[in-house]
């Protein structure tokens, strides 16, 4: 008898995705497929609840080639990610109801299933398996963006598969230092394995100089694809950091840099989906920094921030996706004034923008403050952390710039682009409405944020709605908006221009590619020269041999019999010498 509570719940989503692939492509069966896309995450959430409430902390134990695998672990930490991935899977399913594409539905289910299974896995080898599955399944969502997304998809796949390979090597080395155990608990940086695993996570998580795949692939994916992609991969990486590297100092500095540098790129970027990708990178920085701090308050802040971030970031990607669906572009230079045509989408986008900027009564207000507060509290013992806190505040102003102002302003307000389109389809509005409601509900002072705090791994005593917190946060946000208005009025705010903004990927997309082309050209030239030299050498040898052995060669000429005898004797002696020494 199969005990279903011993099966990793992510498997149900993966199975649903596989079923989707075999459902025939007809209008009638599409209904079943769409039901599956929405219902499978609900069933998975139900299974997570069943397992969590039945006190099965660890399950699905398998022994392969003498290695013990723990394919299921549900505790206070992994449970939050499990529920979150199911929730966002439902929202994504509703958002994509209009899309007839079988590949998107199947890939989305397998991808979300792999992410759920990954965060609920209890050992590094199981994690590796689902880590790679997320890469392989999600690339189809990138490729669904069309022909222009093909190269970005290949780069995306290459980097993510590489990340998985590094994770595997790191896991093997780490296990060697830990008596052969692949258990996925605290890893740390005590051995090379720990560093390699951190590097693997760094690729998925968008550490500085490893982040480019996000801004490369996400804006090129399909409309639904980008929304789905933004939710899982990076949050799975944050989970692995929160599980394996809590309190690792280097993460504080990496996280702080991650919060700051995308702010500058987001400002000069014209494509709003790319702006949101930089914004995603910036938000991940807050989480990485919090994990580096590692106190209970910081970890609670990280987990809370992950939860609300997935919702409001999806909401922002959904609203820009709806604009692309109706208008056909996400370029700020081509948009403006769309609140006249898409007022409901504009409202949802504003809620998402307010949430990410941490306005009081909106989502990030109750979570991001925990991370910044934890840095300031720790700075009382280590004054260097004041610099980190200042960087986080700087980045908060940056968030207000790119996500709080730029995205809604250039899309829905700004100058009137004259585009009059229909409001987003009903299913997109329902998905955005649900996400927007969650952004409000999860920050609601009376019973809302408390529900979010109940999900956090440690007891949350933090009070977000204190006068000083509300007032000082509003100071920061009002100051940023005032600065925007002043700069706009004075003409110092840069106009949006169509361009390709170079990032670190320039080194391999342009420099590396040109280098490969040069190497190829050099190799071809060398090959041609070697061929010429070889050909002329063969020609010379051939000519010599011809001159000696051919019918007109010197050996063919009449020679005295004595000379022939001498030659024969010499050859015989030579053969005898060779045979003697060879034997």
């Amino acid at each position: 008898m199969i005990d279903f509570l011993q099966i990793n719940p992510g498997i149900w989503l993966i199975l649903s995705g596989l079923i989707c692939t075999i459902i025939p492509h007809t209008p009638f069966t599409q209904l079943y497929r769409k039901c599956l896309v929405v219902c499978a995450p609900i069933f998975t959430a139900f299974m997570i609840t069943q397992i969590f409430t039945s006190d099965i902390a660890i399950g699905g134990l398998i022994s392969i080639a003498g290695i013990e695998l723990t394919t299921l672990r549900i505790d206070n930490l992994s449970m939050v990610w499990g529920y979150l991935f199911c929730l966002i899977g439902i929202l994504n399913g509703i958002y994509g109801l209009h899309e007839k594409c079988k590949i998107t539905d199947s890939a989305a289910l397998i991808y979300s299933g792999a992410a759920v299974a990954g965060v609920l896995s209890g050992d590094l080898l199981t994690l590796f398996l689902f880590w790679e599955l997320t890469a392989i399944s999600s690339v189809f969502l990138v490729w669904r963006g069309g022909e222009h997304a093909y190269a970005a998809g290949v780069r995306y796949l290459a980097l993510h598969v590489l990340s998985g390979v590094i994770l595997l090597i790191g896991a093997v080395i780490h296990a060697k230092f830990n008596g052969g155990s692949y258990a996925f608990n605290h890893i740390g940086l005590q051995n090379l394995g720990g560093w390699l695993i951190l590097l693997a996570i760094g690729i998925k998580c968008g550490f500085p100089f490893l982040h480019m795949w996000m801004q490369d692939a996400y804006p090129k994916a399909s409309i639904t694809g980008t929304v789905i992609l933004s939710a899982f991969t990076t949050k799975m990486a944050i989970y692995t950091l929160a599980r394996g590297y809590v309190g690792t100092d280097i993460l504080i500095y990496i996280g702080a840099v991650m919060t700051c540098f995308p702010v500058f790129f987001a400002l000069v970027e014209n494509d709003l989906r790319r702006v949101l990708s930089f914004s995603l990178n910036n938000q991940l920085g807050f989480m990485v920094c919090g994990i580096g701090i590692g106190t209970e308050l910081a970890i609670n802040g990280v987990v809370g921030q992950v939860f609300v971030h997935v919702i409001f970031k999806s909401l922002l990607f959904m609203s820009i996706g709806a604009v692309i669906y109706r208008v056909g572009t996400a370029k700020a230079s081509e948009l403006g004034g769309l609140f006249r045509s898409m007022p409901i989408t504009a409202l949802f986008c504003l809620i998402g923008a307010g949430s990410i900027a941490a306005f009081p009564l909106l989502a990030a207000f109750v979570t991001k403050a925990m991370i910044i507060s934890s840095v300031i509290y720790e700075a009382h013992h280590n004054s260097v952390l004041y610099l980190i806190a200042a960087m986080l505040l700087f980045a908060s102003a940056g968030v207000m710039e790119h996500s709080g102002i730029k995205v809604p302003y250039f899309t829905f307000f700004s100058h009137d682009s004259g585009r009059r389109v229909k409001e987003a389809p009903w299913n997109m509005l329902v998905a955005m409405g649900l996400a927007a409601s969650l952004c409000i509900f999860l920050a609601f002072p009376w019973g809302g944020y408390q529900m979010l705090y109940n999900l956090l791994p440690y007891e949350a005593n933090y009070k977000p709605y204190t006068v000083d917190h509300v007032v000082f946060q509003l100071q920061l946000l009002f100051a940023a908006i005032t600065a925007f208005c002043l700069l706009k009025k004075s003409g110092l705010y840069p106009a949006e221009k169509r361009s390709e903004i170079l990032d670190f990927d320039w080194f391999y997309r342009k420099c590396g590619f040109d280098l490969l082309k040069s190497i190829n050209l050099g190799w071809n030239t060398l090959d041609a020269k070697i061929s010429n030299i070889t050909r002329s050498a063969y020609g010379s040898v051939n000519k010599c041999l011809y001159g000696v052995f051919s019918p007109i060669g010197s050996f063919s000429k009449a020679a005295p019999s004595g000379l022939a005898s001498v030659m024969t004797a010499a050859m015989l002696i030579l053969v005898l010498i060779i045979v003697y020494f060879v034997r």
């Binding site: 590949i103 022909e147 006068v467």
Partner: protein, 121 residues
């Protein structure tokens, strides 16, 4: 790889003045030039108010910069200005034509995706 092409279905052209969503009509004043010009007074008033309240209710766990009145307002204002003023040098350093990598750039059809059909569908 999927290919998308424009649907043969004709789309009714929109009228810029008339085709406004009914929900948007009460908010058309947001596009009024006078409103846009004077919008700055809303955040500025809020800012002054918050600085004044901040003097009465200081931070419970102050950072060194919190001894300056309106410290978070100053951080927000100057951070924002710094970020925006970096745009010009950054653009001149990093901006290239859209076809720089020769991969076709980002999604930018001249028509809505809504009117496209997928050959794979």
């Amino acid at each position: 790889m999927s290919l998308i092409k424009k649907s043969s279905q004709q789309v009714k052209p929109f009228d810029k003045e008339r085709d406004i969503h009914p929900f948007a009509i009460p908010f058309l004043w947001l596009g009024n030039k006078k409103v846009i010009k004077n919008f700055i007074w809303i955040p500025f008033s809020g800012l002054i108010l918050m600085i004044l309240i901040g003097l009465l209710y200081p931070q419970k766990h102050p950072a060194p910069w919190d001894v300056i009145p309106g410290s978070w307002a100053l951080i927000g204002f100057f951070s924002y200005c710094l970020i925006v003023l970096c745009a010009k040098p950054l653009t001149s350093l990093l901006a290239q034509p859209e076809d720089y990598y020769g991969e076709g750039g980002l999604l930018d059809p001249e028509f809505s995706v809504e009117n496209m059909v997928d050959e794979n569908d």
